[in-house]
């Protein structure tokens, strides 16, 4: 069915469920087209496995256009593979060479337990958002959208932080499995906007507390997260979050 001419060896992490141990399993693939996406290459593998009567590899994916943040493969030692600024679903086989061996593992972190094969549980991110990653405004309470002019550079900076897709590559690659880039992106987005001010110091404290509770590691500023983030979320956000956190703890009188 495929039309290309690449031959590959895959070493894929197979793990039955969260309780069992996993291991890398070798698969050979031939006639892979360089125009295929990495996930389409996995489709080919799965079709083969099904036809052979074996269990296909479970992996997370949905939009396949780099925006939902669901795909999550640790490819040859890097989250989302070797190319900068792309997600796994947007990685194409032309980034590899004929004859390559490709090792594929799930995200690994205590806070992201493996569910099966390459799929992990990232619900910790949802809980962090639920702890404070919002503006408390009920539906119907809003004033006219243009009543509050926001300088373009501020709006743009907030947008850049808001571009995070919640994929977790930052955690996956960080030697400490720290979630600081993800958390700081949300904290920053709202800290940069006037709408976020009333809850600014409350928010940063609750979100950091939740992040710690989930068992992510501590940031040591290695910068790996920024380098691997498919959306180019900047380390500046982490500094901004730290700043807000200290202001919240040392200056604000509100106990959270």
């Amino acid at each position: 069915m495929s039309t290309g001419n690449m031959n590959l060896t895959l070493q894929v992490w197979r793990q039955k469920n969260s309780k069992s141990a996993g291991k890398l399993v070798d698969y050979k693939l031939s006639d892979i087209s360089p125009d295929m996406s990495f996930l389409e290459m996995f489709d080919v593998l799965n079709e083969q496995l099904i036809n052979k009567g074996e269990e296909p590899v479970v992996f997370d994916h949905d939009c396949r256009e780099g925006i939902c943040g669901m795909c999550s493969m640790f490819i040859n030692g890097q989250p989302h593979g070797p190319k900068d600024l792309v997600t796994t679903c947007q990685l194409h086989m032309r980034s590899f060479n004929d004859g390559d061996t490709i090792v594929v593992e799930p995200w690994r972190a205590k806070a992201f337990p493996v569910i099966k094969d390459l799929a992990v549980d990232r619900s910790a991110f949802d809980r962090i958002i639920a702890s404070g990653g919002f503006v408390s405004v009920n539906t119907g309470n809003a004033q006219d959208a243009n009543a509050l002019p926001i300088p373009k550079i501020q709006a743009d900076a907030a947008f850049e932080a808001a571009a995070c897709i919640g994929c977790g590559a930052c955690v996956a690659t960080c030697k400490n499995a720290s979630a600081m880039l993800f958390v700081s992106a949300k904290v920053s987005q709202l800290a940069l906007l006037p709408q976020g001010q009333p809850e600014r110091y409350r928010r940063v404290q609750s979100m950091v507390a939740q992040m710690d509770e989930e068992g992510f590691g501590n940031c040591t500023n290695t910068g790996a997260c920024e380098a691997e983030c498919p959306k180019g979320i900047s380390l500046e956000n982490i500094a901004r979050m730290n700043r807000d956190y200290f202001s919240a703890k040392f200056i604000s009188e509100e106990e959270v």
């Binding site: 125009d35 949905d62 939009c63 939902c68 949802d126 959208a145 897709i165």
Partner: protein, 659 residues
């Protein structure tokens, strides 16, 4: 007498919603706390509804099949969201948005619903901005707008090419806020596989925990579906891999009518198919048509590079055929025009199934403006292109990157190659003015309902509709039903109806796993997609549709005899999930063809080759087909048609004209 009552409030069009709101029965706060609502779906429609209902005090359970509500496919919407704000002072108004939507939908939508949509559109923008959604702004700090197809005003709000993402993250944060407060219980990685109907009313759902495989019963005083569109019936579409019709189809089989299934939107600007391995298609936002000009060579089978084809040998066919709207004609018109050119042999690229979308002229124009801003009033071409490229990058950078990533070509240098692809489904579960289906207590919102878009949706109006439904419409209208349910105690889930529904689901799952045939689920999905695209796609005719119905019926039988679903029921098993979805797509496909066959006219996204003008434009038949076709499920391959007449009291129905 038709069984359909659209429950449109009496009174003058512009007053209907206002009057409705002030007279709809209310539920007092204490009672709200004991009323439970199930919301299936966490996209714009589902998340906004779940959050708002919880804010109002209802007990809400929300379901999605992804690992987080933030990943619903609304996240992928690129271009923007419409609202009648008239911030640009270009003559926009509620009426104009209403009018454009009805006209864009080729006069096949309900006036009252569309007017309400236009009325609440402005509130959506206010709400989202208040949530911290970073919509694009101008230097003065005010919100920016762009124009979209099918309109002559600039009313589209956007956040670069990630509008859906930003709006969804806003709704998601509102939802998570309620989750944090314990007012919404979120069930991620859960798939609804049936609705439970007790004494004629929707009272709950059966959902499968996708990780453990366990079947769960959930009670609700009312059930809301916001489960998205079914474009994946075509296998290849711009939808997400998991987008499906299952929830909508299951309720259809339990008594909810399915309306206008054949209305499919084929989006004109998608990245062309590159090979058999293709698993999905990627949209290049319609906003690109603001600055991109569409053309093909004037010469047939021209194999020269785009840049080698001189200006006078290019056919800017949209500008030629539709001078008034040019490249910004509605989607259905643009798609068919592209198909027409390619079918006639003028297509470009290796497959010849593509046309060019060229940014050169506008890049240069922007460059000139930038240069003159910088005081250079006579810039050379190179300067213009350099400065202009920066402007284009700022506007569409992420789309250009995506294009380069997928095709391996640099769109800043060569024109993009684009081709139409399935994108949106106007059809869906039939709902009345209250957004209630024909099953009392069962509501349907967002793309999943048959919606306000008639036979064709205008760009940037789906986001508007999803959020209108979820934030501003359903929370009111559901009160009308729930106010009568305050005496209903939660029904224990060991009620026979729950048991029976669960057993049915279980039997289907067991069946899938026991067939143990020879072909994968994807195999059948691809074949179905092929039939649908060829015979129920951009252009349809009687012969093809009749064949398609037969082929789909055969395919269904083959599927149930020969599909191979590996693994077991009590584990994380994506193949089993797909099997459910594809089984439902096959049944839906048949209904789509039947609906298309029934509709002996061309309108919006439904183009019957038998019904076209001499110039090849769609020809409507208002006399015989100005109705919503709502289908009732009567058994395998049996559907009964109910007609909801469409009455236009405020708009003069006319042939659409974008010339």
């Amino acid at each position: 007498m038709s069984k359909l009552n659209s429950n449109i409030p009496a009174g003058e069009l512009t007053q209907k919603w206002t009057k409705y709101k002030s007279s709809v029965p209310l539920v007092n706060p204490a009672n709200k706390r004991s009323l439970e609502v199930i919301v299936v779906g966490s996209g714009l429609a589902g998340a906004s509804a779940a959050a708002t209902l919880a804010e109002m005090g209802y007990k809400v359970k929300c379901f999605c099949f992804q690992d987080s509500p933030r990943r619903a496919h609304s996240i992928a919407a690129q271009g923007g969201i419409n609202a009648a704000k008239n911030y640009q002072n270009d003559g926009d108004s509620t009426y104009r948005l209403f009018y454009d939507t009805i006209k864009g939908g080729d006069y096949r939508a309900r006036e009252a619903n569309v007017h309400r949509l236009a009325e609440v559109s402005a509130n959506i923008i206010d709400q989202c901005v208040a949530q911290g959604v970073p919509l694009a702004r101008e230097y003065g700090g005010l919100l920016d707008n762009r124009s979209f197809g099918g309109t002559q005003v600039q009313r589209t709000f956007y956040a670069a090419g990630q509008t859906g993402q930003q709006l969804l993250l806003g709704a998601y944060s509102a939802l998570e806020r309620q989750v944090g407060m314990g007012k919404v219980q979120m069930y991620t990685r859960h798939e609804m596989l049936d609705v439970v109907v007790i004494d004629g009313k929707a009272r709950g759902i059966i959902a499968r925990n996708l990780i453990t495989g366990e079947l769960e019963r959930h009670f609700g005083h009312a059930v809301v579906l916001g489960t998205g569109g079914y474009g994946n019936v075509f296998y290849l579409s711009t939808n997400a891999m998991g987008s499906n019709v299952t929830a909508a189809w299951k309720v259809h089989k339990k008594g909810a009518f399915f309306a206008n299934p054949c209305y499919t939107q084929i989006h004109p600007t998608c990245i062309p198919v590159s090979g058999d391995h293709q698993s999905k298609l990627t949209l290049m936002s319609e906003s690109l048509r603001n600055d991109g000009r569409i053309w093909v060579p004037k010469k047939k089978d021209d194999t020269r590079k785009a840049s080698d084809i001189p200006e006078d040998e290019r056919d800017y066919y949209l500008e030629r055929r539709y001078p008034a709207f040019g490249n910004l004609v509605p989607r259905d018109v643009a798609s068919r025009a592209a198909k027409e050119r390619c079918d006639a042999g003028y297509g470009v690229g290796a497959s010849k199934l593509a046309v060019y979308l060229d940014f050169k002229a506008n890049t240069e124009r922007y460059g000139r403006i930038e240069a003159s801003k910088a005081g250079n009033h006579n810039p050379d071409k190179e300067t213009c292109m350099r400065l202009g490229t920066a402007v284009i990058k700022e506007k569409y950078g992420n789309l250009f990157d995506m294009y380069a990533q997928i095709t391996g070509e640099n769109p800043y240098e060569t024109p993009m190659r684009i081709y139409p692809a399935v994108h949106y489904t106007m059809g869906g579960v039939w709902v009345d003015y209250d957004l209630m289906t024909t099953i009392p207590g069962l509501y349907c919102t967002g793309e999943a309902n048959f919606s306000d878009h008639g036979a064709n949706r205008l760009g940037a109006s789906a986001l508007m509709q999803g959020l209108a439904d979820g934030y501003f419409v359903l929370p009111y209208t559901i009160g009308s039903y729930l106010s009568k349910e305050i005496a209903t105690k939660p029904i224990p889930t060991d009620h026979p109806a729950f048991v029976e529904a669960e057993n049915e689901v279980k039997a289907t799952i067991d069946k899938f796993l026991s067939i143990n045939g020879t072909k994968s689920v994807d195999h059948f999905h691809k074949r179905l997609g092929h039939i649908m695209w060829e015979k129920c796609g951009m252009a349809r005719n009687k012969e093809g549709l009749t064949q398609a119905i037969q082929e789909i019926q055969d395919l269904r039988r083959e599927f149930w005899a020969d599909v191979k679903v590996p693994g077991s029921a009590d584990e994380f098993n994506p193949e089993l999930e797909k099997a459910h979805r594809v089984a439902d797509f096959i049944e839906l496909g048949e209904l789509m063809c039947k609906d298309a066959l029934n509709r002996e006219e061309s309108c919006g996204g439904h183009f019957r080759e038998e019904h076209q003008t001499e110039e090849g434009e769609a020809k409507r038949d208002d006399e015989n087909y100005a109705y919503v076709a709502a289908w009732e499920y009567k058994g395998v391959s049996e559907f009964e048609l109910h007609k909801e007449e469409l009455i236009y009291e405020n708009i003069k129905v006319a042939q659409r004209n974008y010339k």
